[in-house]
């Protein structure tokens, strides 16, 4: 009986946020197959670890953190085996001194390190508060604020026409 209620509780919490988890994963890999793979691994890990989650009210930020970790882990693995052609294409885009002036924040994600991407996705796309981001990333609230400020500063220097500052 305990297994049934555990299972049901997990599914009840998971089902409404599944699309959010997929979108977060998608922002890292920008393709459906990998994003589904990340979500699958994250749900698998989360299900096994769920009994140890003491504060069930933090389920959403907790599982988002697992998705982020899985996404970063996949990108790190990929970076070791990235084909040369793909690698050259990636760095050519990344290193272009004349940036597209109207590049938006969604596209700018590709220019950020996997860890920095998490902050932008959670703050500007998922609309999480600094406190929630701190819980999801395991950093202090002050660290999160500093980090987001610095990422935006770097992006501002690179992207001339991005109107992110109204969100500060």
């Amino acid at each position: 009986m305990q297994t049934v209620s555990y299972n049901d509780e997990f599914i009840d919490k998971l089902t409404p946020i599944q699309p959010r988890l997929y979108k977060i994963a998608f922002c890292y890999v920008k393709n459906e197959a990998d994003a589904l793979d990340i979500v699958s691994h994250a749900i698998y890990r989360a299900y096994l670890a769920y009994p140890d989650l003491k504060k069930r009210e933090y389920f959403t930020t907790w599982i988002i953190r697992i998705v982020i970790n899985e996404s970063i882990s996949l990108l790190r693995k990929r970076s070791k085996i990235i084909p040369m052609e793909e690698h050259e294409a990636a760095i050519t885009t990344y290193g272009m001194p004349n940036l597209a002036p109207r590049m938006d924040l969604y596209d700018a994600l590709d220019r950020l390190s996997p860890i920095d991407r998490s902050y932008i996705i959670l703050k500007y796309f998922e609309g999480l508060t600094f406190r929630e981001i701190a819980t999801a990333t395991g950093k202090s609230e002050n660290t999160v604020k500093t980090k987001i400020y610095r990422i935006l500063k770097v992006l501002k220097a690179e992207l001339n026409d991005m109107e992110v500052y109204s969100y500060d």
Binding site: T3, Y22, L36, E88, S140
Partner: protein
């Protein structure tokens, strides 16, 4: 214009539900096959280890410095752990070939460790340890204790652009295996270095900046380049530079160099260096 619409309009694939169900089914199958509660297994193992260790006089003597044995949370070779904290003090002690980092607040041992990260880099081989949510940190004590470990030849502080965290590098005289164990109740981190079987030395290429002093300038340049502070390496002359991951071919390094040149100012003057993977940059 941040273009949140693009994010909102990411199409949700129809098979997402099935993928989730399949993951849950797989996990619940694994769960059913766990015959023993993991807690009980851990407790028995911990008691057994404790009993054996207490009967070895040299180990028992060194354990006098260890106030309490905690419960193991995770063992990792790379990655992060811990929970969000603020204003924690840390202290480091070398015990029996390992280094243990304890955390206190107002003199009381913390039950969990603050968020931490351990990264392994080469050229030269080094571990970079970052502690977040820590305000009090004695670098002198940390360096002194870490230098008691085998393979450690240098320990240096890395400027971390966040006043609630600390970052430092532990440089090794050869490639070594390491194990980081995270404990709770009380929360502490234990790091052990062991000899690596067949530590291969090979020729590699790195992209690196000119030599600089450690400080906010080099830390800010890491952010400009989109690399982590763990990319800061000590040079042979005792200064510092930002170094890329090692590449097997010069062509790969040159491709990355174009990237760096586009992002660095003239002072940073990035270039490609050829060296052994266990050497410090020149």
């Amino acid at each position: 214009m941040i273009n949140k619409e693009k994010y909102d309009n990411i199409e949700i694939p129809s098979q997402l539900d099935d993928v989730a169900k399949e993951a849950i089914a797989r996990a619940s199958q694994v769960k059913r096959h766990r015959h023993f509660p993991m807690g009980a297994v851990s407790a028995v193992a911990a008691c057994l280890v404790f009993f054996v260790l207490c009967n070895v006089p040299s180990v028992a003597a060194s354990m006098e410095k260890v106030p309490v044995l905690g419960t193991i949370v995770q063992i990792l070779r790379v990655g992060d752990g811990g929970v969000t904290t603020d204003g924690v003090e840390s202290s480091v002690s070398a015990v029996n070939g390992s280094v243990r980092i304890d955390f206190t607040q107002d003199g009381v041992l913390e039950s969990n460790v603050p968020h931490f990260e351990v990264v392994k880099e080469s050229t030269p081989h080094r571990l970079i340890i970052t502690l977040n949510g820590v305000r009090e940190f004695s670098f002198a004590n940390t360096a002194e204790e870490f230098k008691k470990l085998p393979f450690v030849r240098d320990v240096y502080k890395i400027t971390y652009l966040d006043d609630s965290g600390f970052c430092f590098a532990v440089e090794l005289n050869q490639d070594a295996d390491y194990l980081v164990s995270e404990y709770k109740d009380p929360g502490y981190i234990e790091l052990t270095l062991t000899e690596k079987q067949n530590p291969g030395v090979k020729d590699v290429y790195i992209v690196r900046t000119a030599e600089m002093n450690m400080g906010e300038g080099i830390a800010a340049l890491c952010e400009t380049l989109g690399v982590e502070p763990s990319s800061i390496a000590k040079t042979q002359s005792g200064k510092y530079c930002i170094a890329s991951k090692p590449y097997d071919s010069e062509a790969q390094a040159n491709a990355e160099l174009a990237n760096w040149k586009a992002l660095c100012n003239e002072d940073a003057a990035p270039f490609v260096e050829s060296l052994k993977n266990d050497q410090n940059p020149k």
